[in-house]
């Protein structure tokens, strides 16, 4: 089944073979940013998940980074 990988270090995700890759914010907080307000964080998080959903709905022939 299709899987969207939300992760910070895209080269690693590519190396280990993930096909649908969504670059995230940073290692300790992939779907958040403590330097932003809670509302901004939620928006960032939502944006990343929406990108992941788009990736899941997209036909691909090889590895692709969705950013």
């Amino acid at each position: 089944m299709p899987t969207a990988h939300i992760c910070s270090i895209v080269p690693i995700s590519k190396t280990v073979g993930a096909n649908r890759i969504v670059p995230s914010v940073a290692i300790p907080h992939p779907l958040g940013d403590p330097e932003k307000s809670p509302e901004e964080e939620t928006q960032i998080r939502r944006g990343l998940v929406e990108k992941a959903l788009t990736a899941l709905e997209t036909e691909i022939a090889e590895q692709r980074v969705f950013d």
Partner: protein, 355 residues
């Protein structure tokens, strides 16, 4: 006899002198002493005594590989019970050269002997023998030529390596003529890593053979799965390698090289919180994840998106493990298991978050 290495030799019907292809279905036969190439083994190494030989037809083994190996183990146990003097220090199989069926049966027998009796086993194959795909990691295999012209050399190799195995010495493919098992093994070098790194650079600058200690691998790829037509009518599951678990880590998932993954309910939860969940991942600063676990497992926004109809359904269980120092092989195994579980309950897509 003191000082003697007692060997039991496993060969097929052809090398056992019992016939050709027409005898391929021969069930395991036991003979006292050496047969066929076994005599040459004794000539090459006076301290080796081939105390017994097992002969089995190639087709017999090809058709019943596991039962055949079990039968051979049983046969060995019977004969050893009858005469303790037969208890071997070492089992030798083949050489199988490039023969696939023979390679498979030699592999199965060696592996069973190692696992059941805890004694070393050695065989010999040509690097193209298809049995190596299956048995390479588990066994010590001497590099042999493609056919019987390489018999003497193969047996010499098996004798040399066999002696080392019995003595408990490490085998080095570079110097012992074995086929690399593809396992990484620690050892203490003569010089420090720093000295070796400088020397290696000097060799590279001089255009000499570099002698890298870790050749860069090529990772295997999985073809991309077909997309979901519309996530608005699909079931999504969440998986994370970021170590987000219910507070208290009920399954005691380790902070590194996790030996398991957890399955946790999301029922009744609109979002994760510092009270309900925590991160047990030992490879990153967990301060931010502990403050707000949604930063690693985005339950809050996923719930919103389900309410808005952008996602059909969220599967009410999520999977978590710790991706810190967890070997790729283990991670692949977890992935396969989790995927199977999700497919079984009708999940159609996964979002995997990593730190």
């Amino acid at each position: 006899m003191p000082g003697k290495i007692r060997v039991i030799h496993y060969i097929n019907q052809f090398f056992g002198g019992l016939g050709g292809e027409e005898k391929g279905s021969l069930a395991p036969q036991w003979f006292i002493g050496p047969r066929g190439p076994g005599s040459l083994i004794q000539q090459l190494a006076p301290e080796i005594e081939v105390v017994g030989t097992i002969v089995v037809g190639d087709n017999y083994m090809a058709e019943h590989l596991d039962e055949g190996a079990a039968k051979i183990i049983a046969l060995l146990e019977t004969e050893i019970a009858r005469d303790k003097g037969l208890r071997p220090n070492l089992v030798m199989a083949g050489p199988a050269f490039a023969a696939g069926r023979y390679g498979m049966s030699c592999g199965a027998v060696c592996q069973s002997v190692q696992e059941t009796f805890g004694i070393p086993a050695v065989t010999a194959m040509h690097p193209d023998n298809p049995a190596l795909d299956i048995y390479r990691q588990a066994l010590t295999v001497v590099r042999a030529e493609a056919d019987v012209m390489g018999m003497r050399a193969a047996l010499e190799g098996m004798v040399r390596v066999g002696r080392k195995l019995v003595a408990g010495e490490d085998i080095d493919p570079q110097t012992d003529g074995t086929i690399p098992r593809g396992l990484r093994q620690n050892y203490f070098a003569e010089t420090t890593g720093a000295e070796r790194a400088i020397e290696m650079l000097m060799r590279k600058l001089r255009g000499e053979e570099i002698g890298t200690e870790y050749p860069m691998p090529v990772f295997s790829r999985v073809p991309p799965a077909a997309p979901v037509a519309d996530m608005g009518s699909a079931t999504l599951a969440l998986v994370t390698s970021g170590g987000i678990v219910p507070r208290g880590n009920p399954d005691r998932i380790e902070s590194a090289n996790a030996s398991k993954y957890g399955e946790y309910s999301l029922e009744g939860l609109d979002r994760l919180s510092a009270d309900s969940h925590q991160s047990v991942h030992g490879g990153y600063d967990t301060t931010y994840a502990n403050e707000d676990p949604n930063r690693v497992l985005p339950l809050d926004v996923v719930r919103d998106l389900v309410r808005e109809g952008r996602i059909g359904r969220l599967h009410e269980t999520y999977f978590a493990t710790v991706g810190n120092a967890t070997s790729v092989k283990r991670a692949e195994a977890y992935g396969r298991e989790i995927a199977a579980k999700l497919v079984n309950v009708g999940v159609q897509a996964v979002i995997l978050t990593s730190t």
